[in-house]
């Protein structure tokens, strides 16, 4: 069975986020003055072949931890699951 997950990788709170700041700075020039706290991170989608959902999820956890994110600067979150 295949299971599809989405992983969100975000910069740790407190770290400077110039990409977020740049978006935030661009918004008022386009007329949106009521937006704040903009943060830019990564979205990774991947499909895993596994016996069951818990096994698949455990593997995705490991991939997210070991490859998709760098614990010094980033947090990750597994989004949801589409069973295929």
């Amino acid at each position: 069975m295949t299971f599809t997950f989405e992983v969100l990788v975000t910069l740790k709170a407190g770290l400077a986020d110039p990409a977020g700041k740049a978006v935030e700075a661009a918004l008022p020039t386009m007329g949106w003055t009521n937006v704040s706290a903009v943060h830019v991170g990564k979205h990774i989608k991947l499909t895993v072949e596994a016996g069951d959902e818990p096994a698949a999820r455990a593997q995705v956890e490991e991939i997210a931890q070991r490859l998709l994110s760098n614990p010094v600067i980033e947090d990750y979150r597994i989004l949801d699951l589409q069973e295929g």
């Binding site: 110039p18 490859l67 010094v72 600067i73």
Partner: protein, 238 residues
């Protein structure tokens, strides 16, 4: 400093760009450059290793993340644990951080743009294989060229890095002033390069290999290569 005969390996990963340039710099400084291949487990008996600049694996995902898992990296880790000198330049620095051989991480420049220019560095520590021949406080000129060179670290790491004198280079003005104006990318504490606890592993964002030949740039990298070659010879003699 007699350095003739020092054998320095330069690793080529898919997407390495300054690998040839690092080999040329080793040759220019009187050493013997040995090309190494990422997928092999063979360090070919070199006396020092350089992880060169570039965009290994396109810098997709995170700079250095994928290259850190290469086969040869296992050997380089063991080599470093034996005290062998390892120098990571730019992408090589990112790889060393990603694989945990150096503390901290490198994220996008404050300006969000790639920056290529000559900068001044202040040497902070001569307790390393790469700066043994240099004086703390020495000011050298070396180019940077990176999009993700902003050094950051966790609070605990920073305390350790600063407390244990593990900063090797800081961005400075030509007069040696370490201030915001001299900080090209927003690195914490103007940190341009750090070392491991033993000082045999050093990583920095600037490119010393592009600062040895006066016909094509500044010469602030000569001291680093001279020190590295000397450390390599010492290791070879041991």
């Amino acid at each position: 400093m007699a350095v003739a005969g020092a054998r320095v390996g330069v690793v080529t990963f898919p997407g390495s760009l300054d690998d040839r340039d690092a080999l040329d710099a080793v040759t220019f400084m009187g050493g013997i450059g040995v090309p190494l291949w990422h997928a092999s487990h063979d360090l070919q008996g070199v006396d020092a290793v350089v992880l060169p600049g570039g965009f290994s694996y396109g810098d997709y995902l995170r700079c250095g993340a994928i290259a850190g898992k290469a086969a040869l990296m296992q050997e380089i880790r063991a080599f470093a644990e034996r005290g062998g000198p390892v120098l990571g330049i730019c992408n090589g620095f990112q790889i060393l951080c990603e694989s945990g051989m150096l503390p901290g991480a490198l994220i996008r420049n404050r300006s969000l743009r790639f920056i290529c220019k000559d900068v001044w560095l202040r040497v902070e520590s001569s307790q390393t294989a790469v700066t043994a021949g240099m004086e703390p406080g020495e000011i050298i000129e070396v180019p940077i060229k990176h999009g993700e060179g902003r050094f950051v670290a966790t609070a605990e790491q920073l305390v350790q890095i600063e407390g244990e004198g593990r900063v090797v280079f800081r961005y400075a003005t030509a007069d040696g002033l370490v201030d915001e104006d001299a900080n090209p990318n927003g690195s914490v504490g103007n940190i341009a390069g750090v070392r491991n606890d033993r000082g045999n592993v050093v990583g920095l964002m600037p490119h010393p290999e592009h600062a040895v030949d006066p016909d094509v740039g500044p010469t602030g990298g000569q001291g680093m290569f001279a020190s590295l070659l000397a450390a390599a010879l010492e290791g070879a003699a041991r």
